[in-house]
Symmetry: C3
Subunit: 308 residues, 3 copies
């Protein structure tokens, strides 16, 4: 797909040599290939090429590393550039073209997971190397992912960043509930409660619940990381035949016993996303976000998203 628009970001006012208003854009090509064995097993692979221009910088497109999959019935196993169980949790992202606010997500401040990293498919450049299994049956989806990087000082052992995550989702009628958990090792560390070396990505918990009554919908998500607890409420309304309005508010409580390595801002953030379907796969998108920062917390975006 392609998307482009104007981005006004108050935070850029304090960056030397950068305007507060820029064009933000992305162009993404996906190369999918798959085949089916005589036994009915699907085997396939995917790479992407993606270019992004943001904050006045120009970017040429680059390829991603590949994802391979083997699928049979409700089970799918991915290796390589995996999706990640946390990143795939229903209720984490907004139901918008950018899965955040505005044209490019505008910082994805609506996510309740604050201060912890998790595995995700990397669309440009090398990704995390991992393996994951996804099983779906009826309204139930289970997802387990594991990634491991080279590193450390031991011969014959890959002791770089390791993440193991599980996600369970159940959908029934107009409702869904999601729970997810991640443990991590050899990653970024913080000092918490006087203890140094606490893994920032470890012990991540995420819960979400949502309801969708056709014209109106709402989602509540809650996440706990080593740095902060955070909750987001998002509401969605369809206006007329072609318009959709989504509003969200996030409240984050940072852990005050984190003395070194706190990356999260305490406080309340909110945002509004408006989309209008122009037909032919083209959507007009506008968004406003106020972050939890004390100053320069406003940003506005408007532009077009088109599918191909």
């Amino acid at each position: 797909y392609g998307r482009f628009g104007l981005d006004y970001n108050e935070a850029n006012k304090t960056v030397v040599g950068r305007s507060d208003t820029n064009i933000t854009s992305r162009f993404r090509l996906t190369f999918d290939a798959s085949t089916e064995t005589d036994g009915g097993v699907t085997v396939g692979g995917r790479i992407r090429a993606q270019a992004e221009n943001r904050d006045g910088g120009q970017g040429a497109a680059t390829f991603s590393s590949p994802q391979f999959h083997v699928a049979y019935g409700g089970l799918r196993v991915n290796v390589g550039n995996i999706w990640g169980a946390i990143d795939s949790a229903p209720g984490l992202y907004l139901n918008t073209t950018s899965v955040g606010t505005g044209i490019d997500g505008m910082g994805f401040n609506s996510l309740a997971i604050k201060g912890a990293g998790f595995d995700t498919f990397t669309s440009a450049g090398a990704g995390v190397g991992g393996i994951e299994a996804i099983y779906s049956a009826g309204g139930f989806t289970g997802h387990i992912s594991f990634s491991q990087q080279n590193g450390g000082a031991v011969a014959g052992s890959a002791d770089g960043l390791q993440r193991t995550a599980i996600m369970l989702n159940y959908s029934f009628g107009d409702y869904f509930v999601t729970g997810a958990y991640q443990s991590a090792d050899n990653g970024r560390t913080i000092t918490k409660g006087g203890v140094a070396g606490v893994e920032a990505d470890d012990d991540l918990m995420f819960f979400a619940a949502g309801a969708d009554f056709g014209q109106f919908g709402a989602t509540l998500q809650y996440a706990q990381t080593e740095e902060a607890d955070s909750v987001t409420l998002a509401g969605e309304a369809e206006i007329g035949a072609a318009s959709t309005l989504i509003g969200w508010v996030n409240s984050t409580d940072i852990d005050n016993t984190v003395t070194v390595g706190q990356t999260v801002t305490d406080g309340t953030a909110f945002g509004i996303n408006y989309e209008y379907d122009l037909g032919g796969g083209v959507t007009f998108v506008a968004g406003y976000v106020q972050t939890a920062a004390a100053t320069n917390e406003n940003s506005v975006q408007a532009g077009l998203h088109f599918s191909f």
Copy 2:
């Protein structure tokens, strides 16, 4: 498209570790995507991937940054990796497969614009970030482009290279006339008439006029930059059913008051380009150029160009 051929360049005789005769080639893939809204507005994007081998060096293909467009009736607006108003001026480039002489343009010595840069679509790597509008009606085309780069020392302000250009073209029957102008800021500077800090890309003027009587055609172009005035006359003749011969001569007068940063060579250059259509989109191309340099001014190329 693809193109490849032999390049003999006398100037390479003085380059250590490089032969005077090399293979010159290019392979270009274009990824275009566009769609139309219910209101009849076209929305689309383009990226390219291009590889070039030149002067004995081998190059892998790389992607460009994207260009996005919105078009309606005779109006088209591009954002991102723009074409540029100067680069789009009819009469600036030759009517050949390379839009210059020979297989790879052979230095594009036929251009009357000397010593000033202008915006152009970058086919491999990041381009300039800009916005432009092109309007066509009847025989008239107007084109305005603006580009801006990050830079400078002021917070909240992008004070890198900025170029604003306008181009007007009118075609009537077998004739056309073109006029274009560019102003630029924060770019390369020269010292001229004792004044330091003169913008080399600023105050660029370009005029062209042409006539095409079927079998014969001619174009005259004139450009004035801060470094030099230059005029090129090009003549075109179709020989038989499949051959085209184009000859050009350029005369350049450098500004002698430029004491620092003069990049243009004073004098006369000329070239000949011969093309033979082999069918199936394949063209045999041969070219000869003598540049304005005092020594090592000859180069010859011959090879094939094929469309796909």
Copy 3:
């Protein structure tokens, strides 16, 4: 095509920060374009984009440099990223999906050419720049290739690595014989018999002969380089409708007069490759290799290869 699988490599036990068991994978896209002139000459080009993940490292896909070709009847001329006459010699590679053992070739220890480089098509990144001609008529194929790199200290002369190679192959009924020779200049040098500066890639000789009786086949190859003489015997058997088993054993004699720059290990290596056709272009591949190294000489791979 795509391929992915598990790789257990004993040699990784001695590498700091790397596991002995990793996922090995490759994703390859080929962009081919060709057209035919009115005179029946085919003109075309090819680039590839390929991503590889190996030994726990993640790799994004990158483009290759292009190959161009002109073909007419049994003659084909390639320029740019050439195949190379040695690399194209029938009998050099195994008749498997990886043309070596296992998923990713497992070091290609079955090749009898040891300690000398030769030109080959580079699927990711810049290749060698060369030109080659291939002529086929009846059972006969002749192949001459030449490559040249920039380098050296002489103006107007490209004195980097130069390789010239010739390969002759004749197939008759169920049998074939191959002979090939390479001379090289300005490449890696070794000290041999007290003489310094001996070109390691020069004076390479290769011979192969094979027979294929439907269900069973065998190939014998012998190569002599400045560093070592080596011989490989490979046998192939089809088992049932969908399975193929290939076993090979290589014996290498290094030249003991090479006192500086010896890169080859003396001794015997062997391997087994098993493939099972799952249908739809998907093949299950498993391989075992024992190299000539004294310790950590075992590796095992198993996974899937799929065509697209």
